[in-house]
């Protein structure tokens, strides 16, 4: 399990004036307290949870009521922990992953917490895998659930920092794609590997872009 200390660093935040800091605090306060905003955020987090933790619900054969209960719990927990409404539950600013798992453990028990931790640890990697799977539905070589899970584990392990969705979307994530491709050869078909190679190329392009961004900032500060 990774810790909050290793959460993906974002581009450096410039020093802000006291006036700006106060204004941002006011913005954060609105984000935390506006009731309508809270309502839609809870709804969104709940729906995200259903997708991100679907395998957990399946494994434990939960009823709709149990699923509702869990999603409400997690959305509430996440919302209390963070003020940024534009990212998902995979980047719980203000809480370490361990703290979230501990909360789940208290509420739902050891087995659920163990499975939850496993899914939480690979949530960004599974997002990447789902990108690949969603783009290859036509190949006739569907990924099995086991292949998806295995690939996600490999991608997570080949990433020095935790993968979170919004970083992946914005091209900030870093993964050792050569390592992923090598390890995936043993359990993916040629068509699946071709898809993975294409996604790896996107990852490399993103990383080149990221390096160029850093170089651009450094060259003309």
């Amino acid at each position: 399990m990774r810790t909050a200390a290793t959460v993906t660093p974002k581009p450096a935040t410039p020093v802000v004036s006291p006036e700006m800091a106060a204004w941002r605090a006011a913005v954060d306060n609105v984000k935390r307290t506006d009731p309508q905003l809270k309502a839609v955020r809870l709804q969104r987090l709940g729906l995200d949870t259903r997708e991100d933790y679907g395998p957990l619900f399946k494994q434990f054969g939960w009823s709709q009521e149990q699923i509702e209960n869990f999603t409400r719990f997690l959305a509430d927990l996440t919302l209390r922990a963070r003020s940024q409404p534009d990212v998902g539950i995979d980047d719980p600013a203000g809480m370490t992953p361990e703290q979230i798992v501990a909360s789940v453990q208290t509420q739902f028990g050891d087995d659920v917490a163990t499975r939850f931790a496993s899914l939480q640890d690979t949530i960004g990697a599974r997002f990447i895998v789902n990108q690949i799977v969603a783009q290859t539905y036509y190949t006739g070589e569907s990924f099995t659930a086991e292949q998806e899970s295995q690939l996600a584990r490999i991608i997570a392990d080949a990433s020095a920092q935790p993968l979170v969705k919004h970083d992946i979307i914005n091209g900030y994530s870093k993964t050792d794609w050569a390592r992923v491709l090598t390890q995936a050869e043993s359990f993916l078909s040629p068509a699946q590997l071709a898809a993975l190679r294409s996604r790896a190329a996107q990852g490399r392009a993103d990383e080149q872009w990221q390096s160029a961004r850093a170089a651009g900032s450094a060259s003309n500060p």
Binding site: P11, K31, N170, G171
Partner: protein, 311 residues
Amino acid sequence: MKTKLLVLLATTIVVATAVAVRVNARARRAASEAAADAAETAALGVKIGDVEDRLRAAQAAHSELEKKIAALQTAATAAEHAGSAGQKPSGAKRSLNPATVIANNPEKLAAYLKDFRESLYLKYGAMFHALGLSPEQIEKFLDLKVWTEQHDMDVIAVAETKGIDSRNPSPEAMAAFKTMQREEAATIKQREADIFGPLIDQYRGYVQAESVRTLVRRLSSSEAYPETPLTAAQVERVTQILADNSRRSSGGSVVRLTVNWANAGAQLEGVVSAGQLALLQQVHRQMEAVQSSQQELNRALAPLKSSMPKG
């Protein structure tokens, strides 16, 4: 000087517009760069669209067009602005766009474009398959995408070399932009027609329905949706039904999240199971929630916009 700058601006816009219709990661990055440069936007935490929403709609050409236009309007306007000033604004702190850094280094550019091209197979593979494109057509299509990518980067690099870094489009810049946008769109349309030949209508229909296909194909994951992964045939059939029961833009594209489920649901009987239909609606609600949360955020923060400190 003014004429020269307008020529630069026009050139920028021509190539920019070619890029605008692309559906690729560069478009998202350009939009992100624009957002990063907009202090007010960044300070408010209001990004150009929700990032997750953007990913899910990444294949929606209309949406991407708007984002790309927004990003490049900034660049084009900046060219005008910097040109009238004659130089980079005094004391301005400005980072170079990543496109400039890459485009100005031949080795980096070659490596980047190689990976960019390879990444397109995943992005467009389903379209190649659905339309039954020949290897030659696929290569030409990829060539077009890479060409527009490189030219977009070149434009940004040239513009930044000229001191671009500003906002507030002038009326003449906007007029030039719109004119060039129309001209370049026509050029792209012609090139696509050359590539796709008799398949051009199928291609455009495919692209226009991409916003709903993005939703539907998410259910092909057996790990995320273990009970009900959709088959390839189901993805295309469901996409067509949802597209037929959604609103269309004036350009013909399916407008995101406008599915009439009452009508679509009846047509989907026999195509998908009740469980699959429920999941489709769940994913649809999820995407609506992404959109709603962004709208609510904008509403909630609107009163604070005017009080944001300068600098």
